[in-house]
């Protein structure tokens, strides 16, 4: 059960580490790199709390092995937040109380951002469907859908 040397890009920086084959991407990010914004919930792909970006698309950090990321690019909530690309969404979440304990929030933001990257203003049903793989046990989702919808409208207004 040998360790594997991997080189990958995490939040814009090249990282070189040794990992066990069985280490999941989210455990690697949290425990080896100290990037604890990605959370570990169910560990079998249901709750969505571990979601991160791999080569630009949102994936489950618990259903991807760190060793598979050799040569690839990972972005976590830390990177996405620092870039400012989520600032309007984060502000809307705060304003509308779209988070309480915050456990689901980093993954919820990344998943919502992926939907918002598409064109147009998605319907509330489309927002709910897109976020259906991210569990929130506090808010009842209503405020989250409100926040995502508000950002979609604001961005559409800003560009039209």
């Amino acid at each position: 059960m040998s360790a594997h040397e991997i080189t990958l890009t995490v939040n814009g920086e090249e990282v070189r580490e040794a990992v066990d084959a069985r280490t999941t991407l989210v455990d690697f990010l949290r425990e080896t790199l100290g990037l604890t914004g990605s959370h570990v919930g169910c560990e079998h792909g249901v709750c969505g709390a571990c979601s991160v970006r791999l080569d630009g698309v949102v994936v489950r950090g618990c259903l991807t092995l760190a060793v598979q990321c050799e040569g690839h690019t990972v972005e976590t909530i830390e990177g996405a937040s620092d870039s400012g690309a989520l600032a309007d969404l984060q502000e809307e979440f705060r304003t509308r109380n779209a988070l309480q304990c915050g456990y689901c929030t980093p993954a919820m933001l990344l998943t919502a951002a992926e939907l918002l990257a598409g064109s147009g203003v998605p319907s509330r049903a489309a927002i709910r469907e897109h976020l259906s793989g991210n569990y929130c046990r506090c808010t009842g989702y209503h405020a989250i859908v409100d926040a995502v919808e508000a950002v979609a409208r604001a961005r559409a207004g800003a560009t039209s």
Partner: protein, 280 residues
């Protein structure tokens, strides 16, 4: 939970993957959206994972000889975005949004869904309804297996321990092709309690070559042959009644067999309406 230890190797080619799979206890890792969950829960214990994600040439969607071919590593999300697939395989296009969630579909593969052969999964039933086929590379060479002969039992397929699924193929839709899809799940993205993938050919006002593939009702996707005949004769109620003979779903954690049987009839009525609509 965390997975038990295993070795990992990245296959450079299909041939390299086959060589690596010669080892006892080796398994193919594609999208990993089912496999890694079972590793985390310690439901499977491979000695070696053979990662085929970096094998070139398996991620293409191509139309040839009246068929559409979907490479094993085509991600669900990639297939969802493909206009060509939407046109040539409308049944698959309808089924794809029901698979998991966007983040699962970003990583999960079409080939993986077929090879894993979860009895409640959408794509195996679509392949069966469409009379598709599966390309397999094995130690003895390449072979093609028809969907009717591919699904052997619970998570058991014609792949065997050392085979690599390289592509699936379905006949491209024509103007006479009719398809229908519906499933019932407790939450969006869950595996279905019962689902139905259906294909037929319109012949005037009638349907011929009706194929109904139910999922979540047995160890494999299940054809409902008596219901198919009734539907081809234009009698939806007789088709629903025929499900009593065609299906014998076992109880599971989601529902009793009797409930599943009832829901299968509900889905059949919905899908029968879809089959009678000409595509836009």
């Amino acid at each position: 939970m965390k997975p038990a230890p295993f070795d990992y190797a990245r296959a450079r080619s299909v041939e390299h993957a086959l060589e690596l799979l010669g080892r006892e206890g080796a398994r193919v890792l594609a999208g990993g959206q089912s496999l890694i969950a079972t590793l985390n829960m310690r439901l499977s214990h491979p000695s070696l994972l053979v990662d085929i994600n970096e094998v070139a040439g398996l991620d293409r969607i191509a139309r040839r000889n009246g068929h559409i071919e979907i490479g094993a590593l085509v991600r669900h999300a990639q297939a969802e975005r493909s206009a060509e697939l939407g046109q040539a395989a409308p049944l698959v296009a309808r089924a794809l949004p029901h698979i998991g969630h966007p983040a699962i579909r970003n990583r999960g593969t079409v080939g993986g869904s077929i090879a894993f052969a979860d009895p409640a999964a959408e794509l195996p039933a679509c392949l069966l309804a469409l009379q598709g086929e599966v390309d397999i590379a094995g130690p003895a060479g390449k072979r093609t297996v028809k969907a009717d002969d591919f699904f052997h039992g619970l998570f058991e397929t014609a792949l065997g321990a050392c085979g690599v699924l390289t592509a699936i193929r379905v006949p491209a839709a024509t103007s006479a092709t009719r398809v229908g899809f519906a499933e019932l799940a407790r939450r969006h993205g869950d595996y279905a309690m019962v689902g139905l993938a259906a294909a037929a050919r319109a012949n005037g006002k009638n349907l011929t070559d009706v194929r109904l593939a139910f999922f979540g009702v047995g160890a494999t996707p299940v054809r409902a042959r008596n219901a198919e005949a009734a539907l081809a004769a234009g009698d939806v109620e007789a088709a629903v009644n025929a499900l009593g003979h065609d299906l014998d779903p076992p109880d599971d954690v989601q529902a009793t067999g009797a409930v599943k049987k009832h829901l299968a009839g509900v889905l059949l009525r919905r899908v029968a309406r879809q089959l009678n609509e000409a595509p836009q």
